[in-house]
């Protein structure tokens, strides 16, 4: 029996999205920050809430709220461009010398595709990330968590329209967040 078309559409889309996410990680890890910025939609929402320890049954209070509370990040393209520009000054001491960074992206799931899997213009994706940062000599951070994102097709190119970053930490164990998730 032939594999149903919808399953093939799903597989093809998943492959395409995975390739996009891997290429994005490649740009970041190879420090092609300006090229990375080109992957971000002009109206991108880039949000990384903080997480509280809350009682069973009160998990609705676990995350700080977007647009309301303090987060690790809660911003749009303007500040992301400024972050890149800061690194590119060469005197942003927290990233000079540049850190050695490796992004691993896995567990990619397509949660939603609109209007359809075969002709999607917007895709909701969930994945896992593992970011390894090593800088100067022995300073090393591992940041592990989940990402939920909305990718939008703009003139045949995928752009990141929303990225929610869920870091699996309470007290941040890294001294700063000078890199991108």
């Amino acid at each position: 029996m032939a594999v149903s078309k919808s399953r093939i559409d799903h597989l093809l889309l998943k492959y395409e999205i995975e390739q996009f996410l891997y290429q994005e990680a490649e740009l970041l890890d190879e420090r092609q920050f300006e090229e990375w910025l080109d992957l971000l939609a002009e109206d991108i929402r880039y949000w990384m809430p903080m997480r509280r320890n809350v009682k069973f049954g009160e998990l609705d209070r676990e995350f700080t709220r977007e647009g309301q509370d303090i987060s690790w990040f809660d911003e749009g393209k303007d500040t992301l461009v400024r972050r890149v520009n800061q690194i590119l000054t060469g005197v942003h001491w927290a990233e000079e010398p540049l850190s050695r960074i490796c992004h691993s992206v896995s567990n990619v799931q397509i949660l939603k595709a609109t209007p359809s899997m075969s002709q999607p213009t917007e895709v909701t994706v969930k994945c896992r990330f593992l970011i390894y940062r090593n800088r100067v000599q022995t300073e090393t951070d591992f940041l592990v968590g989940k990402r939920e994102e909305v990718l939008r097709s703009v003139n045949g190119q995928w752009k990141i329209a929303q990225r929610k970053i869920i870091l699996d930490q309470n007290v941040l164990l890294a001294k700063n967040l000078t890199f991108f998730f």
Binding site: M48, P49, M50, R52, N53, V54, K55, E58, R61, T64, R65, G67, Q68, D69, I70, S71, W72, F73, D74, E75, T79, R82, R83, N85, Q86, T89, V91, H92, W93, A94, V136, E139, N170, V171, L172, L173, A174, K175, N176, L177, T178
Partner: protein, 452 residues
Amino acid sequence: MATKTKGRFVNGLVDMKAGKISREIFVNEEIYAEEQEQVFTRAWLFIGHESQVPKPGDYFVSGMGEESVILCRDREGALHVFLNSCRHRGMKVCRYDEGNTPVFTCPYHGWSYATDGKLVGVPFFKDAYHEKLDKSKWGLVEVAQMEVYKGSIWATWDPAAPPFTEYLGDFKMFFDLSLEAWNGTDEPLEVIGGVQKWLIPCNWKFPAENFSGDSYHNISHRSVDMVGIGPSGTGRRDTQERADSRRLQVSFPDRGHQTGIYVLPGGSPTAASYQQSPEVADYFREAEEKRRAIKGEWGRVTGSPGEIFPNTALHPRQPRSIAVWHPRGAHQTEVWRWYLVDAGAPYAVKDFLRQYYIRYSGPGGLTEQDDMENWNYAHSASRGTIARRHPYSYEQGMGSEQTNFELDGLKIPGTVMDLTEAKSSEQNLRNFYKRWAEFMDAPSWDELADWR
């Protein structure tokens, strides 16, 4: 002047006559252990803000030095600060960050404490204890003193410490710049939800001295000044009001608190700020007009980073936040940063400030990131045996401090350094360490409260 007991620190490891401080006080683990006793069990420490615990049963788990404490509003509405450790075998009774509860129940053997700290539940009280345990003696350990000052909550473990407002002394009028509404009234502030907590690999005194008034390290923030995150689109703050002002450092030698300030010229309105958003700009223009009108001459004074001894840092103006540098061993600090806004401000203002605050401060902040890199590697490069033999220099501007400082009729209390021409001074840093050394040497508050 102080007649302190001669010890290892005053004019020893902290040699303020020569303007030199030994690296040992930052990296030596024995000194660190002494410091926990001498400084953190005796000083007043910042706990939180009233807006975090508005209702009976509300709690927020905070810290005092290395210790976890519970800030809690009891059923009658009274505030308490308790050591977050069960009296039976030490289990942390509250491992949540904040919430509302009728009791704190220990997960280990089940002792249960009411929100006023009283031990109310003891498993098998009849069968195993034969009702002989005196529950009234086994409540949660409560701080010796707690005070609420303009919404901010403070505590100390030392019953002999002077009351908090006396501990502040004349620094009070500078601390008010962090606690009053932007329009200079007592309208309430609120902590924006979510306290940032993160670890830095350095001794807690690196950030403490930096916020005391390191007026010299602007160069390390050049990258953020170039890319511009300020509320008017350039720099990292609104700079015109500062350019119009006299730039001073103010410190209180008998207290150990210090801050930078900018004194606006009298007779003309404060320069426009928050130009990126007309609504926010209007809010601040109106607030500033009201503040200047209410405060009169004193309204010319605007805030800049400062430090309440020992480990509470103030950012009164742009951005507005309070940070605590919790010691986590000689070589590590856990920072907690609270961000403050006018409780009654419209959403647009709160939203704008929130975004500005976190792009400036905290681990994601374009400004604070560079500070943490410097503190980290200043500390690690000071740990070696050879490195420890060479003290740091704190000589900048020694001998140029003034008292009874007056600026066209406006009297500024404390020890003042005029940085308008000098550009920078380490007077505030010397003041911080002088007080730190006194705490390390002094056997009790009798010697420390020598103004009495």
